[in-house]
Amino acid sequence: MDYNWNWSVLLEEQYLDWLISGFGWTIAVALSAWCIAIVIGALVGVGRTVPNRLISTLCTAYVELFRNIPLLVQMFIWYFAVPEMVPEDMGRWMKRDMPNPEFVTAVVALGLYTASRIAEQVRAGIETVPPGLSAAGKAHGLSLSQIYRYILLPISFRLIVPPLTSEFLTVFKNSSLALTIGLLELTAQSQQIAEYTFQGFEAFTAATVIYVCIALLATVIMILLEKYTRIPGYVGKEG
């Protein structure tokens, strides 16, 4: 192996700035997409379990559609195809006047994609709640929405915190796909530093270390959250 080490390149002002700005975009894309994903994922996941054929079919279709198309293709469709397919005025606005088009598109694409994965977790969580509980609710004369509001959702949301941890980590990793539509997030910046300086080893190591730190931090947060939300003495099906 023939390689000139030069770790100090990472501290040169220009490249350090690139790394910091890339880190910022990664966090911004991931957290914004996560907010969209949680809201839509919860709605779609609940929708799959309700006793209404139309709603549950639509929600199932959503999950299958977004899960079975690679995120990269979805990213391109949102970025290149959707502005051509919507009414002309809106398309023109999306192409010319929308602020930060790469960022907005990446957040929407990543958010809706992650929502389909969260929806699966939410559905699984609701189905894990023993059927006797909602039957008991029914026997008490609760309406369907009351059963969801007071029995199914409080239990299932607390049950699915552990599986959501890995989704939360995944959203940071998947935010790197934003580079394909030109957003200079962390991975893109490290690649750019590698190209400018020929110090690929140092540049990619820096990015790797930052991603590992993000993963560790996110895991710690989620472990605390898990402790806080665990239902004492509750043993679900997966126990």
Binding site: M1, R67, I69, V73, A81, L179, T187, A194, L216
Partner: protein, 218 residues
């Protein structure tokens, strides 16, 4: 929708088919390599030899906390440096995918190995089989069998992941679609077509998983 022209798909089919073959071939080889390396990593983690288990666990957790694109960049940079000469982007990509997916397959195989009851291992020991014989004839066949649905699901994810070779311009189905899209100026048609093709393949795959699960449950 009036000015969309889907003829572009028809006229570029041979080119796209070549790309799709590369995607499928890359997926197939990465699944094989990923399962083999992943199984070795899982065995290392469960071996009871502390340094070996720690090393395997570190590898798995490291690879699982970085994005695949970064791993692809890493290997496109490292492989020629280590080997001393460029070996072509297909093999660099293949190495990156095997190394990356092995981390995920090892977690699946670890769960699979742990799903085999201890009594089976003890039975092997009492009939005088050695460690590798027990793994080869008793534990791994059952672990594979129990994990088939999840292994296939991971294969579908891997197939979707291969689209990311776009970032290094390796001409898979995604890159081929994008080349046609740009040269013909037909972005909408080509990306929608790519979405349909990926959807059909991946949806069929998840149907297969469902029927496998049902068959195994009975």
């Amino acid at each position: 929708m009036a000015d969309f022209d889907f003829n572009v798909v028809w006229s570029s089919l041979p080119f796209l088919w070549e790309g799709l073959q590369l995607s499928l071939w890359l997926t197939f080889l990465s699944i094989i390599g990923g399962i083999v390396l992943g199984t070795l990593l899982a065995l290392a983690r469960l071996s009871g030899i502390a340094p070996l288990a720690l090393l395997a666990a570190t590898y798995v957790n490291l690879l699982r906390s970085v994005p695949l694109i970064l791993v692809i960049f890493w290997f496109f940079f490292l492989v020629p440096l280590v080997i001393g000469r460029p070996i072509g982007s297909f093999y660099s990509a293949l190495i990156a995918f095997v190394m990356f997916e092995a981390a995920y397959y090892s977690e699946i195989m670890r769960a699979g190995i742990q799903s085999v009851r201890k009594g089976q291992v003890h039975a092997g020991q009492s009939t005088g089989l050695g460690y590798w014989q027990i793994q080869r004839y008793i534990v791994l066949p059952q672990a594979f069998r129990n994990m088939i649905p999840i292994l296939v699901t991971q294969g579908i994810i891997l197939f979707q992941d291969t689209s990311l070779v776009f970032v290094v311009s390796l001409r898979d189905f995604m890159t081929a679609s994008s080349i046609v899209a740009r040269t013909e100026g037909r972005l909408v048609e080509m990306y929608l077509f790519a979405a349909v093709v990926y959807f059909i393949i991946c949806f069929s795959g998840s149907m297969l998983v469902r029927s496998l699960k049902n068959r195994m449950a009975t």
